[in-house]
Chain length 412, copies 2
């Protein structure tokens, strides 16, 4: 099935000249027949997708939850020509009691807005309405959300310019756009999966010939343009690239993760050092922010770290990290560990860096596994942190007490 | 109509394990009925598009010339998620004798290959085969190619990753891709159009808060990621942005043009100064290279400039251009002019720059119009430069001497 990006539903629902706001209801829902079998190669995907069209003239169109399908766009659309696209990465977890949960979804939605505005895409949606729609989509996928530790249903909200983006425009804003959310199974068997990976760690390659982001660029936004352009930096035998920039080969991110080094400072304090957000080069990661928050509360005595084993004598430092720091620390023993963090990896050790013809070995620090177990524990409901966890209400596309087995239905 | 990116035709045409090469023949051609009327909003587009699918396992699929239609892609495809896309900009002209011509198409195809390789997209096509296909597409559009001065049929070759680009990949290369070419009328009535624009010139805004490209980034490649991310830099009242980078606000490009300043050097020579290609920040423009070639031949005495009026005492200089140079030159009178050049604009004066709270007026130099008239003269066959002009052979989808009025036909 092919879906279109027409905004006719938006126009129909608003006869005035004012732009229609983003609304979760009425929702157009197209249930799959019970006999539905996924297409070959698509077995790992959720069966449904959310779509909300937008146009400059009529605003947001009607939200639709429809069977997952290809999207249909003009060959001169902004997304195909000029990379006018941004996205988010989220996960849905199943707790031991069978409930579905999300981790800090509002943080993702806020960052999604910032990215959208940077690309000239609409960003005026109501996060509560979007969360309502996302929860309905996830509720439909509940049977396939894995309950194994480390596994989840990965969620990819995306916003693309579907209108022609061509020649000189009056301003830099999109004319028509499509927000969509698709899901895909993350069975926890890959690179990022098991808790052990926190220990065994990744081998990364730092090649100064590929600079991912720079000052006054788009490093801090989650836009497609930051990712595809550095695909070819990937070296065989290394799981990902460590991104460098500037005259001193400063470390920004690794793959699509934020990066921390663990360093014993001259005063004996164990420092968690990560790049500052100030110059806009690194993504303001939600896992990054969560780890910093937990560590700062622990260091200040405001709140003990949720799991035992984190030293009391620690400090979070946000600053530039020149590669020389890492090399010197590896040599003099002050470098105690290094890890990446993000929605995909959660927390994972980095154990080796290839850099300008040498291999730098990084020690493993046990706090990395504690950080990982804490974040996953919160996400899966084993560690209580209510303000960071959102429960997904049950919903089965029921209308007037009766579920549509097949066909199409608009639900108020 | 919706077309798919299936590579089944490629698989069918090659039963061996070797990857199929890019071939102009056999061509799948789907003629439009004589009664065809363009869809609303698409009147300015060519009626047909060329599509050639590719996959890592089977290579290039069969080339198709089909009615222009939306393309259908997976919501997790590389182009929608990670901006895995590159393109070219070309024009088809109609000479006074009614022939269709292209300007240095091989230069575009070579740059297209370089961009594709940078994005991990296939780049092993044969340029002669691609030119054959493009000429067939253009021959079908011959009736709508405008013959007015300044007008043309704009050509947009595009290459996108259609496969899922998600999670950790073994290497940074695409799994499946689609090359397509669409065309759109350029009636010569817009910003870039008339010869007079060479004189009246553009107002540009130079905002250091938006850096388009940097060393070891993708500035020199024609990839979508360079364009959409700076859309919002556009200021009202200014036709385009002047892109700056580095500690001294060096000028790289303006909008999607290369930039030259005209400066009277201390030895009295009129210098044509443009940014060097060495650090990879600016696009190696074909109009830029053509102008440099003509000017160097003229300056060295190897070949007179095609049109009269270009001073003998000139020099082409490729170097960084700090904004201070422009400001100082505007003040002391050594700055004699400034222009942008590219396929879209051809050659156009820049008459004013907004920069850090001031407006800098740039004088107009008559050589700008001579450059423009020379390039357009060559493109439209008024000035002879055979090695730069390719004539498009006539073709009407004729098979065995008989044209299919409607329906589908594979042509050997």
């Amino acid at each position: 099935m092919t879906t279109t990006t027409s905004s006719s539903t938006a126009a129909a629902s608003s006869s005035s000249l004012t732009s229609a706001p983003f609304r979760a209801s009425p929702l157009f829902f197209h249930p799959l027949p019970a006999s539905h079998v996924p297409l070959p190669g698509k077995e790992a995907h959720g069966s449904y997708m959310l779509q909300v069209p937008w146009s400059k003239t009529s605003g947001w169109g009607q939200a639709k939850i429809v069977p997952r399908a290809d999207i249909s766009i003009d060959p001169l659309s902004g997304v195909t020509q000029y990379a006018v696209t941004c996205f988010e990465g989220m996960k849905c977890y199943k707790t031991e009691s069978g409930e579905l949960t999300l981790f800090r979804p509002n943080e993702n939605f806020n960052r999604f807005k910032v990215s959208a505005a940077r690309m000239g895409l609409p960003s005026d949606w109501d996060n509560a309405e979007l969360l309502d729609l996302l929860c309905k989509l996830l509720a439909l996928e509940a049977p396939i959300v894995p309950s194994e530790d480390g596994a989840s249903l990965y969620i990819r909200p995306t916003l693309i310019e579907t209108s022609e983006s061509f020649g000189i425009k009056e301003d830099g804003n999109a004319g028509e756009a499509l927000m969509y959310i698709v899901t895909t199974l993350n069975l926890g068997k890959g690179l990022y999966a098991s808790s052990e990976k926190a220990e065994t760690g990744l081998r990364v390659d730092a090649d100064p010939n590929y600079v991912r982001a720079w000052s006054n660029g788009t490093g801090k936004y989650k836009v497609g343009a930051n990712y595809g352009v550095v695909n070819i930096a990937k070296k065989p035998g290394f799981q990902m690239s460590l991104w460098l920039h500037g005259s001193e080969d400063f470390v920004s991110e690794a793959g699509a993760m934020n990066v921390f080094i663990l360093k014993e400072a001259s005063d004996g304090v164990l420092e968690f050092v990560t790049m500052s957000l100030d110059n806009g080069i690194v993504l303001p990661g939600i896992t990054r922010a969560s780890i910093i928050s937990l560590l700062k509360d622990h260091a200040s005595g405001k709140k003990e770290f949720p799991l035992e084993g984190v030293p009391k004598n620690i400090r979070v430092v946000e600053r530039d990290i020149p590669m020389k720091d890492i090399m010197d620390g590896a040599e003099d023993g002050s470098l105690k560990g290094m890890f990446g963090c993000g929605t995909g990896v959660v927390v994972v050790s980095i154990r080796e860096i290839q850099y300008r013809g040498r291999l730098i070995s990084i020690p493993y620090h046990p706090v990395v596994k504690i950080l990982r177990d804490t974040i996953t524990g919160i996400q899966r409901g084993r560690i209580e942190k209510e303000d960071w966890v959102v429960k997904v209400p049950k919903w089965q596309g029921v209308v007037n007490g009766e579920k549509e087995a097949e066909g199409q239905k608009v639900i108020a």
